[in-house]
Symmetry: C2
Amino acid sequence: MSDPFVVVGADAAGLSAASKFRREAPDREVVVFEKGRWISYAFCGMPYFVEGRVERMSDLLSLSPSEVDERGIDLRRGHEVVTVDPEAKTVAVETADGDSFEQPYDDLLVATGARATTGPFDARGVDGAFTLHDMDAAAAIDAYVAEPDAYDPARADVSAVDRERVERNAAMPAPETAAIVGGGYVGVEMAEALAGRGLDVHVFHRSGHLLSDFGEAVGERVAEELGAKGVTVHTNAPVEALVGDDRIEAVTFGGDADGEGAETLPVDLAVVGVGIRPNTELLDGTGVELGEGGAILTDGHGRTSLSDVYAAGDCATAFHAVTGEPAWMPLGLTANRAGRAIGATVAGDPTPVGDIAGTAVVKAFDMEAGRVGLVGDDAARDAGFDPVRETVTAGSRSGYYPGAAETDVTLVADRDSGRLIGGSIVGPDRAAIRIDTLATALEADMTVPEVERLDLAYAPPFSPVWDPVLVAAKVLNGTLGEA
Amino acid sequence: MSDPFVVVGADAAGLSAASKFRREAPDREVVVFEKGRWISYAFCGMPYFVEGRVERMSDLLSLSPSEVDERGIDLRRGHEVVTVDPEAKTVAVETADGDSFEQPYDDLLVATGARATTGPFDARGVDGAFTLHDMDAAAAIDAYVAEPDAYDPARADVSAVDRERVERNAAMPAPETAAIVGGGYVGVEMAEALAGRGLDVHVFHRSGHLLSDFGEAVGERVAEELGAKGVTVHTNAPVEALVGDDRIEAVTFGGDADGEGAETLPVDLAVVGVGIRPNTELLDGTGVELGEGGAILTDGHGRTSLSDVYAAGDCATAFHAVTGEPAWMPLGLTANRAGRAIGATVAGDPTPVGDIAGTAVVKAFDMEAGRVGLVGDDAARDAGFDPVRETVTAGSRSGYYPGAAETDVTLVADRDSGRLIGGSIVGPDRAAIRIDTLATALEADMTVPEVERLDLAYAPPFSPVWDPVLVAAKVLNGTLGEA
């Protein structure tokens, strides 16, 4: 135990691990290398910063470097780990100042996160075109959207911010029309954010309904809500290209494979959110096993296939509660939980990182949606299930109580076993948080008859006698019985 | 199969059973005897009618007599079943017109509900004093609260209503000060309702915190909310007497066992909600087994100890998911579910009525609360558990997202097994419906470590990274680990 616990990456997983480790093993050393300047920022909060609901960028930081220091963590920003030698148990580090050195470790955690992919087009170097996956991009978009004389530099009140980039964007004329490329949850949240800033917003989505992972019922209700709030939704409309040399001028979209028949929409802002991929390059050449999406394969305690090397967060797989297989679903809780568990394990208290159920929720103006488990038929079949599904529309409250709103619940079960394997919920009245009921049922391996018999809450302001989840279970149970 | 399925009581359990039976066995006969005029009314909606949120009393009816008729159910209102002869398989019926007859049955369902108890004092015959447990009382309170010249008779737009009683109450001077006797959930809901009608409202509760079954954390937050909205809450203040001969004039409260030191508050309205008891008199002399609270003991299919006699709803026990024992917790979903299951069973498809978890939610102005399982230490110990509890206060949303509100979660576990046995949640932001997560975990027999590892939803508008439920599980898990 002569060498430290080395953590690569100072965000949710990395700092959770380091903090837990120091609490459990206060006599041992932990070093966290972060290649950039930002640490511990709330990625999920960035759309709300751009929208202006969050006033100061510093509100999105969970921990400052000095708070990390107070926890006894040796944090080194501007330090990039470029290679790992699992035999020698060392990492090679390059600093922003041009130095390099080797750091031995007893245990290593790779928590390098993920980065945005741009798809077939490249927004770099084009003013007004952004990908949203780091704080500098959020600060730049916020500055770009503001009228040059109305931008408040105090918004980006974090020393780590790329000040030059912010100022350059603030000086540009404010945009009027925005293209959101990709209708996943970041795209939906950004549509609300930019509409809230007064822009004419267009969302372009490759497939037939927004929020593909949430299923059709959710995608359609969310598209309706965006439309009702003035956002134009283009489905089955893959963006072909971002047009513009210095500044974005238009997007072309919807053509055939050769681009024939594509349409052009003039825009002066484009935000690309078409996906992310795990950062694993530092393990190239180590022979580490990779899993879904190219993420680092881990076991139930976050261990990789390399001795004494752990991985957690957006760069790592985790076990899926329904399939029992490693899956890559980069989400905030998964990262925090796995980091914390690995910190305990390395400190000597072996702690499982926990399964994931793919639980996700999203807000689109006044609509709320959630999803969990295997929602799509393909995902269910790939995992060896024979999916049967039902979607019901039920009231969120007793019909006579003001505010009762249509809530769509989709449940997916395996035909043979009757086991619940996935579901989604959408509606304007407390719909999103209801997904936790399904997440809990999934993790308990409940069958649909068991879900139907759950004693869920009833009071007129909050639920009808038969909660929408129970109504859906009742209907799906009937369908299963007929099969 | 020559005699009909006879159902006693035409409310949630009875009509659910009759409806399901007719759907499953359309060739067979079902007769429903109801001693009164009202059928299928939403008891839980009455406070919201009194408040005026619900405009018409007819909105609270799920089914009209003609709709029941259309389902092929032989509904007889004004027919009271006075005795049951389980040997002869007949019931004795007396009609409102003074007739009487015997009705043979193949199967019998007793769904006679419960009635309000008044405690040591009796409000009958005193104008302005009410117990709230039927539609006529709700209509009368609504009429009494209105200024005589401002009452709209169309509010009580149901033919079954006791018109004479409504008109008499409407003619009385409108009250200014109300006493709610009993701070259970009906009392809390009525406090909000009457405050909403402009009255100066006082709630009197026997024990130290409101909503005894919800635990202290909930009771205190709800009392704060009532206070903030202008309702005066008196705890440790049992009401001694309703004072007044013809019309209510005051309540006396808070004295010792002999009434010494009691205080007097002048009021011109009193609503008593101190409890209910099951209606089981028609089975007197049959030797039927009774359970908790004097309710009719039933098995997992709703069968009583008498052959071919079932019981469901507010007059019957059901199995508790945590204790595995029969319990009496009269709630709406329990009645509907048991009725429906019994209807299927009698029709030839044996269907379990399902466990109960004691899940309940209540709204108090802008505060929401829920409870499930065994919340109090006494209940836990009586069931053979060694309870350990923690209450945490956590944010309902990410701290930087506007609207994040303090949410108190209490979890109770069994020390030896670590099993979750109960919990409560209170807060103003989507707190109540979160209890369904705990209800599902309880019914799945989850341990606290399992709850801590649940993959619950995270998005800034709906939950912090660690949902309040997870925070509570984390803290309780720590306490269990130390023990």
